[in-house]
Symmetry: C2
Subunit: 353 residues, 2 copies
């Protein structure tokens, strides 16, 4: 096949981990006789520095023309503690999500048996965990009206949801549950928020179309607890944008393998694949960051965007092999083992595809 | 002293755990020669059933006249999955918070050495944890304008904060940090929300008044992670209402002793003391709920509302004694030990003050 992939490396460790994914994807393409057309484009702080805009129009054009987007990470600490900064890397991320219509962020959480003891949670609490959080990504308080009043002394943000936005996300959740353990949990704060009541009402109305799916409704505060108490009790979780932001990050801790967790964002125009970790500026340029989450995001891309399951399986197999043989970066090496460089791990993976 | 305490037992296990706290408080009063005037009042589902309103005016009058409020729990599952219910127990809670001006919810999180292995988190992750979350309780999206548009197909909620509301909460946080390890963490989502940017700006402006306090600013998603990774790295956390709702519940899991965790809500007109657990309807009426969180909330009341430290210490001492001697309810008894009834634990505590 002829595959057009937009490559958005972004900030911090983004470029380094993306480089390794490119090596692996190229090796897979060679093995399975695909032709990859990579088109790199600027985003985040890197794009602000270059053209004054975190998601430039040229980058958007590249993404729109691509079959899929492979994304590194964005964000730079120099913007974080400056509440008055007018251009922020994160704005690029939000603009990209909105313009590409990336309405559903899909975050699987599962444990790697060989790494389970890295988790801050006890083994018996997390064994068997295999859940997916579906976060609505283009609505809610992220995109509502916001501003100041009273000479700047009052600030407001608005959370808005329409029935259609909720249906679109929930439909994906029901379908995903049908292909899994048939359990769906809708997370909201319906005891307080009107938007949550619309979520609950809408999902309740959809239950009849998926009679085999067992649906539960839980409050976000309760889920923040249960996610660390009994994560294995969840199958598919659907939730709105801000709750999803918090819960997906909380869930990322469960497996003890944050450096390995991939994600996808399903869009109207194209889909995007990225590691769940951030730009990790402290490690940038040191060739020490773990590239596996990005490599596994590329596996998700083969499976979900191109429907090429064997290629995805080949990537997952080589990642498991690298874990088994200890070809890993310092975060996974442990005290007594050799830590490989980011680039060495990438080379090894590509050579062993 | 003459102490006027409003007694709001509420729903579910509320009345049972409140009963035990009353026994203990009466025993303390006898020992230290205080005169307690208890005034019971209705709230929650219990109040809806009796007078059609979850926080009746008579209850408010009782609270306003009291030196402190001792609160059980509210909430009943029969309201949870009915998005169209017009009167909800939680509305009573919110109305009470607003009318009593309970602007700061104080939630300490610490470990009990004898119970540390009950935590889902590994011992080495949580040992030494001693943090307080200060949650703003009368502002934000809980109290902003909300509603429907487009024939009910669009729902919105508004999060509003004023500089004054933030200052009032943050001042308490700075002061609390001064009496502790002098570290303050302001949790927000300033990379997205305007209200968060006002939080950050306001707290930054206050730093100069507390030069000894080391202040950090973290995003709520990052904190949701770090709270389960390294809870002992935090001292005092300040945050807005909704983030506080989620994070305090998440933090409640850390110690493994949810049934023991007290909280207070500091108000303009009076202060309120309550266990962090909910109304736990499945256990209601069975005399099995753990009363210790409510008893320890009464200890907080003696210390914070009445400035009676010896009395508070006496309560904490008898609770520790009950833990050491295994006079505990089934949640703490373990497989091979006798589980005491809620009322038996209360009797034992009162007798041993
Ligand atoms: C950087 C930030 C705007 C973003 C978000 O909140 O969505 C990030 O936390 C994420 O989850 O991708
Ligand atoms: C019952 C609910 C409205 C309440 C809240 O969200 O504040 C509860 O979760 C709490 O934390 O006291």
């Amino acid at each position: 096949m002829n595959l057009n992939i937009a490559l958005l490396a972004g900030d911090g460790i983004g470029p380094e981990v993306i480089d390794q994914a490119v090596k692996v994807v190229n090796a897979v393409a060679k093995k399975f006789s695909h032709q990859i057309n990579w088109t790199a484009a600027l985003t985040g702080a890197a794009a602000i520095d270059a053209v004054g805009e975190p998601y430039p129009d040229e980058t958007h054009a590249v993404c729109m023309a691509a079959d899929a987007v492979l994304f590194g990470a964005i964000g730079h600490p120099r913007f974080d503690n400056d509440p008055k900064a007018t251009v922020r890397p994160e704005q690029g991320l939000l603009k990209m999500r909105k313009k590409l219509g990336l309405f559903a962020n899909v975050r699987p959480t599962f444990t790697f048996p060989s790494l389970i003891d890295n988790s801050p949670l006890k083994r018996e609490r997390i064994e068997g965990t295999d859940l997916v959080i579906l976060r609505e990504l283009t609505g809610g308080i992220y995109f509502g009206e916001r501003g100041r009043k009273d000479n700047g002394d009052t600030a407001f943000d608005t959370c808005t949801y329409t029935r259609e936005e909720i249906q679109r996300l929930a439909k994906l959740g029901f379908e995903m549950a049908m292909g899994r353990r048939k359990k769906l949990c809708c997370v909201d704060k319906a005891n307080v928020l009107e938007s949550s009541r619309l979520w609950r009402e809408t999902v309740q109305d959809m239950e009849k179309d998926f009679p085999e799916v067992e649906v539960s409704y839980e409050f976000v505060d309760a889920v923040a607890m249960r996610l660390v108490q009994w994560p294995s009790s969840y199958d598919v979780i659907i939730t709105e944008n801000l709750f999803g932001d918090i819960l997906t990050d909380e869930a990322s801790v469960i497996s003890g393998s944050m450096g390995l967790m991939p994600s996808s964002s399903i869009g109207i125009h194209t889909s995007l694949f990225e590691p769940i970790h951030g730009s990790y500026p402290q490690a940038a340029g040191k060739d020490i960051a773990n590239p596996l989450a990005t490599v596994l995001s590329a596996a998700m891309m083969f499976e979900d965007a191109f429907n090429l399951k064997e290629e995805a399986a080949a990537i997952r197999a080589v990642v498991n092999k690298s874990l088994a043989e200890g070809i890993v970066t310092e975060d996974l090496a442990g005290k007594n083992n050799k830590a490989y460089k980011t680039s060495e791990v990438g080379d090894w993976l590509a050579a062993n595809i």
